[in-house]
């Protein structure tokens, strides 16, 4: 072996303390946990549109959650003498055909719609991401078997599937959330799987194997973060899909039952009387649309924020 080590690198330092403050700051960060989410948040804060959307979304959530307690009206007490009346000082959003205060109904409907959107999307996210990542990573026969199962569920008509679930487990709001989540994860699983298959060929996965990391670690730490971009975009598309499904199920008598309502149900009622009492459609539709806009901008912002390469600072 020849001696080319004349240009020897820096000497070993027994107790190195290079660039003190920078390192100290970094240590704090490391001890606080995952740098991925912290960095993402730092980048998201610079995105005005996403931040505004987040703010509006939180406002809508607060409006729906806290609102009904502050209102002097009650969503169920009817006033058949009043009937449907346009917005007034007493009823800001007007009343519906049974004389119920629409403002409170929109707020309470929002509770259900938001809950369904978040719970069902979370359920679909968890199942879909894990299922898809495992299938894509394992490959071969395991993958084939897992994806045929997905195909099987895809082939099953959604309504029949939900009705079966409802019949088997009884009817409850939470079960409806889970039932919707159980259907919506299929697309998620396919997208995550295809992403993982693409990533698996990259050398950093091989490098991770060659460094002795376990499969679980490779899937959770190295593969899933890399597919989060598309996953978040799909999630923001899943939320409205889920809310619409809920309205559809309610229409069939499988979801929310009167006197309770969700945005989907309110919009449905509103469009039946659209020409005579337009406010019955306008108010719930406005909140529904606003929420979806916020979630879309937020999802878009999150996707950019999660990708370190998009950082231009």
């Amino acid at each position: 072996m020849s001696d080319i080590s004349q240009t020897a690198p820096l000497q070993h330092k027994p107790q190195p303390d290079p660039a003190g403050p920078a390192v100290a700051a970094m240590l704090e960060e490391l001890e606080e946990g995952s740098s991925l989410w912290k960095d993402a948040w730092a980048r998201l804060r610079k995105n005005k549109l996403a931040l505004t959307s987040l703010f509006i979304f939180v406002a809508i959530v607060l409006f729906c959650v806290v609102g009904p307690w502050l209102s002097p009206h009650d969503s169920q007490s009817q006033d058949l003498f009043v009937g449907a009346e346009g917005p007034s000082a007493k009823h800001w959003f007007g009343t519906d055909t049974l004389g119920r205060d629409l403002l409170v109904r929109v707020m309470e409907g929002g509770r259900i719609s938001l809950l369904v959107g978040l719970v069902a999307t979370t359920v679909s996210l968890m199942i879909g991401v894990i299922f898809g990542a495992v299938a894509g990573y394992m490959g071969g026969r395991v993958d084939a078997a897992m994806m045929r199962f997905v195909d099987l569920l895809y082939a099953l008509p959604f309504t029949i599937f939900v009705i079966l679930l409802m019949v088997a487990f009884g009817r409850s709001l939470w079960l409806m959330f889970v039932a919707i989540g159980c259907v919506e994860w299929l697309t998620m699983a396919r997208i995550v799987r295809s992403g993982v298959i693409g990533l698996k060929k990259q050398e950093f996965v091989e490098a991770a194997v060659s460094l002795g990391y376990s499969h679980t670690r490779i899937i959770t730490r190295h593969l899933i973060p890399n597919v989060l971009g598309p996953v978040i975009v799909i999630s923001t598309l899943t939320v409205p899909a889920v809310m619409l499904l809920e309205a559809f199920l309610s229409f069939l008598g499988l979801g929310v039952q009167p006197p309770f309502a969700s945005w989907g149900v309110l919009i449905n009622e509103g469009q039946q009387n659209m020409e005579i009492f337009p406010w019955l459609l306008i108010f719930p539709a406005f909140f529904f649309a606003l929420t979806l806009f916020c979630l879309n901008f937020l999802g878009d912002g999150l996707r950019d924020a999660l990708d370190p390469k998009s950082a231009k600072d």
Partner: protein
């Protein structure tokens, strides 16, 4: 005892087109602190040999058919998955060809370097971070204390390969497998990367298997050299033996392809033809159809085995070609290889 002893390693790929014998009976050994070069054309089985040792061959379609790889007394090829995980990254690590994709784009360099340590060592995050910074300094990354928190995309290709080297060596492994570590890099950076590997090797006493198709790299960096062709070793010996006393027709043809050895204005030499299709059985010397030397007989049916020609210098002598003359003379006598090819090509 040698650090790693490989005996009769064979890795085949079972594809729809048939069994591809990517590596077919390879034996070699490497001592502590030694550098072993593996050279050969694309598809000669260099990388598959390394991947087999790390058990990174995708199974199926790949399968390690036979062989023993004794690493410190344990057979890597028979080892259980969890034992293997303790070896990988701790005692044997690997550097890959493409530094652009071998770091996780979503994690900071610091996170990746710390993870590599904490997987194998009981080390707190703070010490691991210091060690990561130190490791980056040692591979020549300027301002390592600040750069450690960068993401991979903020580094150039050469810098990323340095990070890979730092990561592969951070647990001070006994053996480093470098699979064409400089192929994807600029020529100017190549030499630096090889120097860094060498420096770190000298400091840590790591043995290195250096896979490359660049003969120049091998000559300057390796103690021992294996020349591979069509899944087998055709010549092996010390770097000077293989370089200055090359015996095998393939090794000599390879040398002839180095541009700097040719006169100015002369057309660059390429070995005519293509390597044989490894999914078909090979009779006799695999290089026979492309061999420029005059044939003195039929190529036989068995692939020639390695014969010792003194001081551990071995080559697979087929005995049917007259490789005594200089290759320049042979080539000057008219394109023997070209005229010999059509008939032989059909046979292969």
């Amino acid at each position: 005892m040698a650090l790693l002893e490989v005996e009769d390693l064979a890795t085949h790929f079972h594809t729809r087109e048939g069994v591809v014998r990517a590596v077919d009976g390879v034996s070699f050994s490497i001592d502590k602190g030694e550098t072993l070069g593996i050279v050969g054309e694309s598809g000669s089985g260099k990388s598959v040999t390394c991947y087999s040792l790390m058990r990174l061959i995708p199974e199926p379609p790949g399968r390690i058919e036979r062989g023993v790889a004794r690493f410190d007394g344990q057979d890597l090829l028979q080892m259980g998955k969890s034992d293997l995980r303790h070896i990988r990254g701790d005692r044997i690590s690997m550097i890959f060809q493409d530094p652009m994709t071998s770091l996780n784009p979503y994690l900071r360099i610091s996170t990746q370097l710390i993870e590599a340590q904490q997987t194998h060592r009981d080390i707190d995050t703070k010490s691991a971070l210091f060690k990561a910074i130190e490791a980056l300094e040692e591979v020549g990354i300027p301002d390592a204390a600040n750069r450690v928190k960068s993401y991979p995309h903020e580094f150039s290709g050469g810098m990323r390969q340095r990070v890979m080297i730092a990561m592969a060596l951070i647990n001070e492994p006994d053996l480093l497998i470098a699979d064409e570590p400089t192929t994807a890099l600029d020529v100017t950076v190549q030499a630096q990367i090889l120097d860094i590997i060498k420096q770190r090797q000298e400091r840590l006493g790591t043995a290195v298997i250096l896979v490359t198709h660049d003969l120049g790299v091998v000559a300057g960096n390796c103690d021992k050299v294996n020349v591979m062709y069509a899944g087998q070793i055709v010549e092996t010996g010390t770097a000077s033996q293989v370089f200055y006393e090359a015996k095998h027709a393939y090794t000599r043809s390879l040398q002839k392809t180095i541009p700097s050895l040719q006169e100015k204005g002369q057309e660059l030499y390429t070995i005519p033809g293509l390597p044989p299709d490894l999914s078909k059985p090979i009779n006799g010397c695999a290089f026979h159809p492309r061999c420029p030397f005059p044939k003195t007989g039929h190529k036989g049916t068995e692939r020639p085995s390695l014969k010792d020609v003194g001081d551990g210098h071995c080559f697979a002598d087929c005995g049917f070609c007259d490789s005594s003359g200089s290759i320049e003379d042979v080539l000057a006598k008219g394109d023997l290889a070209d005229t010999a090819l059509p008939g032989e090509g059909a046979e292969a």
